[in-house]
Assembly symmetry: C2
Homo-oligomer: 187 residues x 2
DNA sequence: ACATCCTATATGATAAGTCCTATAAGATAA
DNA sequence: TTATCTTATAGGACTTATCATATAGGATGT
């Protein structure tokens, strides 16, 4: 489970409430590790049980208690162990490829429409990443901890590159379907 | 759930037993939709309840009963509806990117080793896909239903292209880490 | 004044998938 | 002969994640 380690990762920078963790996920790793709000709270409870984080309860009189989670030394150790251990080959699930795989069962115009819809989604994603990347590039020279942000930017760079490749493939596929050119390419 | 639709997809070609479905998954879509054996049986039971498949029980005397599943007209309709409906943007989970994202918390040599391990995995995958692709290319001219196989090959082509892009990114990242060059690139 | 949104935490139900194990018999290898 | 592999189906326990909903107060807008 990476959610656990992603939470430890965020807490390794600064303590967080569950609520702020959710916002941190949505702002940064959402594209490769989305996190459900309720799952964050449940995972925090687990991490506390395991002694990897501690809970600081802040009594705010009128308002609800605020719960701030802190990384423990054991938590930092667990994070670093996980970060430096290669993961077993994962199985990505890509339902869109399942659609393409069985597209022989529907008409060309139908699969073409599905591919077009996918192209629009990917184009939006690429534009969004491009935007994020430019913003980071501008901020970068003034940053302390450039090494830390380098890794953040690496993941964005991956998002950009992989989605651009994806887009190229999608566009090529669409073209070949429209031309009724069902002959595979030499790759 | 795509497993349901992938099963309907296979059954749209020919009836299958649960056991043979598992083999079909492992031979073809395993890289983008792996299927657990017990889940296949459970999903087949569900599909039968929903009237999308029918079960033919073959009594083989000494041996265990063999259960062959057939697609119903409703099953074919469900498959075609699903195939021609664009999917909502999915959230891919990529634990490796989580590792890279938080790699600032470990030493360069440690993250470099993790990246190297990933490179090896991806190289193997690319070699495997290249092999599969060449085999298909040779078979292709003699095939009937070239259009159907075109879509199969498209997914393989995607696997090749995306993994090659991934490899390029991994190698670039490794190089920059080794050179302690933490400056982002213009993308 | 009323509605809606934001902050903030949390539970119940369900879905999807994994892992382990059980059962049963034929085929193959050492 | 014994062990392992392949064929063949299936249930139990568990994990991970999602969705809906509940509670509670503050802030903002119309």
């Amino acid at each position: 489970m990476s959610l656990k380690h992603a939470i430890l990762g965020f807490l390794s920078y600064t303590p967080f409430s569950g609520y702020d963790l959710k916002k941190a996920f949505d702002r940064s790793v959402q594209h490769f590790w989305p996190a459900d709000q309720s799952q964050i709270y449940r995972t925090l409870a687990q991490l506390e049980e395991q002694g990897l984080v501690t809970k600081e309860v802040i009594d705010r009189e009128d308002r609800l208690d605020l719960k701030i989670y802190h990384l423990t030394p054991a938590g930092l150790q667990e994070l670093q162990d996980w970060l430096s251990t290669p993961l077993p080959a994962e199985a990505t699930r890509e339902p869109f490829l399942v659609q393409v795989f069985f597209a022989g069962k529907i008409a060309d115009e139908e699969i073409a429409a599905v591919i077009e819809a996918e192209i629009h989604q990917v184009e939006e994603r690429v534009a969004e990443y491009e935007d994020m990347y430019q913003k980071w590039l501008q901020k970068f020279p003034q940053l302390e901890n450039q090494r830390e942000f380098f890794f953040t930017l690496l993941t964005l760079e991956y998002g950009l590159r992989s989605n651009k490749t994806y887009l190229t493939w999608l566009e090529g596929a669409l073209q070949r379907i429209r031309q009724k050119n069902y002959v595979p390419k030499e790759v």
